[in-house]
């Protein structure tokens, strides 16, 4: 019958109207500044630099290899390699970034830097409240602002961070074993030489 559909529709919206006052689960709105949804584990916003231990400068995993700088599609990463070297997590002497800037007003959150990093040094953050009243300096993050601890990484991406830690541990073990073997070989060689 003509007009039946209109009445059906009106009934449906009336149900919504009154229902929204009585059942809270109908309302999907999150009132943002007061309420916020915890970010999903897979959420990605902008990259940050991971450091181990408590000293951000000493524990920085980044070795300033500049792969991410070259791969970055919008060219938002700027790295200046250090002159001197310092031991990294594996105990190997490595360069470190004297300067590491990311302009997050340019970054497009593509995550390519994370994928190309051979040292698991750069990861994606879930922090999204980055608005600032200074559009040049405020959005250009330096290495102090970018450095975040491995604990923080575990907090925001637990499963991923566990995998990373396991891999790093395995690598470290392998490297240790290798140094051990080379050391043994060396001592053996020395011994052989001596013999």
């Amino acid at each position: 019958m003509l007009g039946e559909g209109i009445l059906k529709g009106m009934a449906e919206t009336a149900k919504n109207f009154f229902g929204s006052y009585f059942s809270a689960e109908r309302l999907t709105t999150v009132e943002y500044p007061e309420q916020r949804i915890a970010p999903y584990e897979a959420a990605r916003v902008f990259p940050f630099l991971v450091f181990d231990g408590s000293d951000w400068e000493a524990g920085m995993r980044c070795v300033a290899c500049q792969i991410c700088e070259k791969e970055c599609p919008p060219k938002c990463i700027f790295i200046e390699k250090s002159k001197d070297k310092k031991p990294d997590a594996l105990g190997k002497q490595q360069f470190y970034p004297a300067r590491f800037d990311i302009d997050i007003s340019v970054c497009m959150s593509c995550q390519i830097c994370v994928e190309v990093c051979p040292f698991e040094a750069i990861k994606m953050d879930t922090e999204y409240e980055l608005s600032t009243d200074n559009r040049f300096g405020g959005l250009l993050l330096d290495r102090r602002q970018l450095a975040k601890s491995n604990q923080y990484y575990h907090q925001i991406h637990p499963a991923e961070a566990d995998g990373v830690d396991a891999r790093l541990a395995a690598e470290k073990a392998k490297a240790d074993a290798k140094t051990k073997i080379t050391a043994e070989a060396k001592t053996a060689a020395i011994a052989g030489e001596g013999a």
Binding site: L2, G3, T13, F17
Partner: protein, 396 residues
């Protein structure tokens, strides 16, 4: 009836207030001052109501869509309109370079003036009517018809294709739906035998077994009210007939090129037109300021008028939240091929009702004619697939 003096005074409080205020002036000024005072009351009241309605509309639409709606400014977002007003008043008033400046300036003024003129003849309570014109209904429709010109002026003077298209759509739509609007009101005039809106209300302010003699409770009145409601929705450019300002097609229709205060005037004009046309519908079909049940007559008449008015505003909002926008050809077909014939049948039924005398026979007879016409025309439309359910080729 429990018509105690207190409630009688409460009923007439605004009339008494006006008399008291005017009594301070010399006698020769009193009539003019009284009129000025009433005009000032109307000009203050309805914009205030408009401000409240905008926030209620947004909240109502939000609830219909299971959202919360504005709730930031003040408790429950009640001060939102104040924020909006400050925003639109402080905005720059932009007039396009190629616009016809004089006409561009006059259009919003003309719209608001004609819209407010309509209130002059609406009885908002017992003895609460600005001028009780003998040809009140005609005056109302004359003012309503003049607002179309303002819409055209706005659209044409902007020199913007969207404005012009919106104005053309609006004017075509308003003219098409003015015919059923007038015809459905003529049925009421035929039964009452007067064009005076106060007389129309008085004719409905009677009770049998505690039930009122509202025209909506008669077969022709019910059909007339439905047709009137459809026509008013189109006349005020409300959803589902909001083609003139369809955001997804025409930016904002005829007021695309208006900003700041002039845009606010258009916005105000639209809402106040909605109030006034709802007020007219209330007066014609819902008994105006009369109480719905005979034992409730002690409640002041203006409370009844405004609660009926707000109820119809709620229905407007409810429809806006439910129905999708029509297509232009559907709109015109609906007006000329369904609503207009129904109104003509309704006129015939009203005449029959008038001359058949009391008794159950006229109820049966009149209802039967209307239902037959509705079913016949409705089924015919459905069969022609003009108003039937749409099939989507690519979706689903």
């Amino acid at each position: 009836m429990s018509q105690t003096p207190f409630f009688e005074n409460l009923d007439q409080i605004f009339v008494l207030l006006q008399h008291w205020l005017v009594s301070f002036l010399p006698t020769s000024w009193q009539p003019a001052a009284g009129v000025l005072l009433s005009v000032a009351a109307i000009v203050c009241l309805f914009p205030a109501l408009f401000a409240l309605t905008t926030v209620f509309e947004r909240k109502g639409l939000a609830r219909i869509q299971n959202r919360l709606g504005p709730n930031r400014v003040g408790p429950f977002g009640i001060f939102q309109p104040i924020a909006d007003a400050i925003k639109s008043l402080t905005k720059e008033d932009i007039v396009p370079l190629s616009a016809d400046a004089a006409v561009h300036f006059l259009a919003p003024l003309l719209l608001v003036i004609t819209v407010f003129m309509g209130f002059a003849v609406l009885p908002m309570g017992r003895n609460m009517v600005l001028v009780d014109l003998d040809a009140g209904l005609l005056f109302y429709f004359a003012m309503g018809a003049s607002s179309e010109l303002a819409v055209f002026m706005a659209g044409w003077s902007s020199r913007n294709k969207y404005s012009l298209l919106g104005a053309m759509r609006a004017v075509a739509q308003m003219i098409s739906y003015e015919v059923p609007l007038l015809l459905s009101s003529v049925a009421v005039v035929m039964i009452t035998g007067s064009l005076s809106l106060t007389k129309i209300v008085e004719a409905q302010n009677q009770y049998t077994w505690g039930l009122p003699h509202w025209y909506i409770f008669t077969p022709w009145g019910f059909a007339g009210f439905v047709m009137y409601a459809i026509a008013t929705t189109a006349e005020t450019n409300r959803s589902p007939f909001d083609l003139p300002e369809g955001e997804s097609e025409l930016v904002a229709g005829y007021h695309t090129e208006y900003s700041g205060f002039k845009f606010a005037l258009f916005f105000l004009g639209e809402y106040v037109a909605m109030f006034s046309i709802s007020g007219l519908g209330t007066t014609l079909f819902l008994g105006g300021w009369s109480a719905p049940l005979s034992f409730l007559t002690w409640i002041p008449s203006w409370i009844w008028f405004f609660s009926k008015l707000m109820l119809s505003i709620f229905v407007f909002i409810w429809m806006r939240g439910t129905l999708p926008r029509l297509r232009q050809d559907q709109l015109m077909n609906f007006a000329w091929k369904f609503v207009l014939p129904m109104c003509l049948v309704n006129l015939l039924v009203a005449a029959l009702w008038r001359f058949m005398g009391d008794g159950w026979l006229r109820w049966v007879f009149c209802s039967a004619i209307l239902i037959a016409a509705y079913a016949g025309m409705g089924l015919g439309e459905m069969r022609r697939q003009r108003l039937g359910p749409r099939s989507y080729r690519y979706a689903e």
